[in-house]
């Protein structure tokens, strides 16, 4: 198995605005990675930089420990069809589906045919006249059909109804099962997509807030609720569990914090009349997005 994608000191600025700030990350090969975070945290920019659609201000990206520059053999290992992908105005769906296989040596015609059928994509329709959901479906067809070693999916479900999203998840697993490869998917439907993910990266304000295997990330997210004074005292005594978000309702408060708790910590929380519950990955992503805490 190959090494994957290494991001080394990656910084991207537009004028005075820093979108990504000195990122160091590794996307291990052969896994499905979730790239999570609020809008504007740099997810799409990171994917653009990794696929050389744009250039970094500083830093570099390695594919299997090599800078790929203008090497066409390396470039054809990538597929990144954007959620707002531009197509030639004259292209029909069938034109795009006719051309795409030429770009990928491992093109999966059977999956393509099945997906076009399942998404009910109209081959004779001009791409620019497709609905939002149909454009997403076309991007999914290209991404899964490519069987590219490094496939990027940027919010691939936009405009898809729940049934079509289910189809996408099912086909993603099927395609990945047939040929494991590195898939990096950004999504806001975190809990819906979580069962597919093996690793998660959470970005916040252009920095890595968390990178962990899914199970570890899910174990991190906890909520503590109880009397405000008890809760505040407990948090003061346990600085390893910072308050990421806080809701106060009368004399009681709820905070999202980072777990897991040791047996002693659980016991002290119980003594303080605090209720400890696990929260979803979505809750953790939202909490990290609302704080400046970095777990990585």
């Amino acid at each position: 198995m190959t090494a994957g994608i290494s991001v080394i000191g990656l910084t991207k600025t537009y004028g005075d605005h820093t979108v990504l700030d000195d990122l160091h990350l590794t996307f291990a090969a052969g896994k499905i990675h979730g790239l999570l975070g609020a809008n504007g945290t740099g997810k799409t920019t990171l994917m653009s930089l990794m696929s050389r659609h744009t250039f970094p201000t500083r830093g570099s990206v390695l594919l299997d420990d090599r800078e790929f520059g203008e090497d066409p053999r390396q470039a054809q290992r990538l597929c990144f069809v954007r959620e707002n992908q531009l197509y030639n105005d004259a292209f029909k769906v069938r034109d795009v589906l006719r051309i795409a296989p030429d770009f990928y040596p491992k093109w999966d015609a059977a999956t393509t045919t099945r997906l076009v059928d399942r998404f009910r994509l109209p081959p004779a329709t001009v791409v620019k006249k497709l609905s939002r959901g149909q454009r997403s479906a076309l991007a999914i067809v290209l991404a899964l059909g490519s069987r590219a070693d490094f496939t990027f999916l940027d919010e691939p479900y936009l405009g898809l109804d729940p049934g079509a999203r289910e189809t996408f998840y099912e086909e993603l697993i099927r395609s990945y099962g047939a040929q494991p490869r590195t898939i990096i998917m950004s999504t806001h439907l975190v809990d819906e997509a979580a069962p597919l993910l093996e690793e998660v990266v959470v970005l916040n304000q252009g920095r890595v807030a968390l990178q962990a295997p899914l199970e570890e990330a899910e174990a991190l997210a906890l909520t503590l609720s109880g009397p405000t004074t008890s809760l505040d005292r407990w948090l003061q005594e346990h600085p390893d569990h910072p308050s990421l978000t806080r809701r106060t309702l009368g004399p009681t408060a709820t905070v999202t914090t980072l777990g897991p708790l040791s047996d002693a910590e659980s016991a002290s929380a119980s003594q303080a009349q605090l209720r400890v519950t696990s929260t979803s990955l979505q809750g953790l992503v939202a909490a990290l997005g609302n704080s400046n805490h970095e777990v990585a």
């Binding site: 659609h53 203008e70 597929c79 531009l86 030639n88 290209l142």
Partner: protein, 238 residues
């Protein structure tokens, strides 16, 4: 080379658009030219007087009808096709090489259409009524080589200009594209001024080279646009 063929196929995905439309444009130019001459002839009588025939030899329809369309093909190739080519794992260099090959094919088709048109024009005694469309002064008065090469370089210059400005727009945005355009305009004006100042030498070249002088200048412009588009595409982003 294999890698350049993929962007070439992308360019040729809609063959009617990139290869058929120039033919259609020239067909329309022929029909309109015949119609104009027919109207004039119906008023002055057939056969046309030598004065009117001389006037039709100044018909510049072939020169001015296709550039707008060709520039737009270049712009779309440099923007929309570029975005899809990169999405599908092409490099900037192979995209440029494949698209330039596509431009050469479109130009070849356009030049061939003009040459076939010239053949038909001669065969039919200038479309039966003395209308000149391809056998015109600006393309060497029926010189097949001048017409073929002239239309070819004109077409590739327009396609390359579209690609250059499309790529500049993608790489540098609106303001800097306008500035680049203005800078190129200044350079062009400078060269024209230089030619005007040295008019005797230019006229001597004109006498020696005939229409080939203009063809060579357009070829040089096309080469400059292609080189510029290559430099720009290396920095273009999505």
């Amino acid at each position: 080379m294999t890698h350049a063929l993929r962007p070439l196929k992308l360019y040729l995905a809609n063959r009617y658009y990139v290869l058929g439309v120039p033919l259609f444009i020239y067909a329309v130019v022929v029909v309109l030219s015949i119609a104009v001459v027919a109207i004039i002839g119906s008023m002055t009588g057939f056969p046309l007087s030598e004065e009117i025939r001389e006037g039709t030899r100044n018909n510049a329809g072939v020169l001015f009808s296709a550039p707008g369309f060709l520039v737009s093909v270049g712009v779309f190739a440099a923007t929309r096709n570029f975005a899809l080519a990169l999405a599908l794992g092409a490099t900037r260099r192979s995209f440029w090489a494949g698209t330039t090959l596509g431009f050469a094919l479109t130009s070849l088709m356009t030049a061939t259409a003009a040459s076939v048109g010239l053949g038909l024009e001669r065969l039919t005694g200038h479309w039966f009524i003395g209308a000149h469309v391809f056998d015109v002064h600006v393309f060497g008065d029926g010189d097949l080589a001048v017409l073929f090469v002239g239309v070819f370089v004109m077409a590739i210059a327009c396609l390359a200009a579209g690609a250059l400005f499309g790529t500049l727009f993608r790489a540098y945005g609106t303001v800097r594209t306008v500035l680049w355009g203005a800078a190129m305009g200044v350079v062009a004006l400078g060269l024209l001024t230089l030619a005007a100042v040295n008019d005797e030498r230019v006229l001597a070249w004109q006498d020696a080279w005939g229409e080939w002088l203009s063809v060579s200048v357009i070829a040089a412009v096309a080469a400059a646009f292609l080189a510029g588009s290559y430099a720009a595409v290396r920095r273009a982003t999505i």
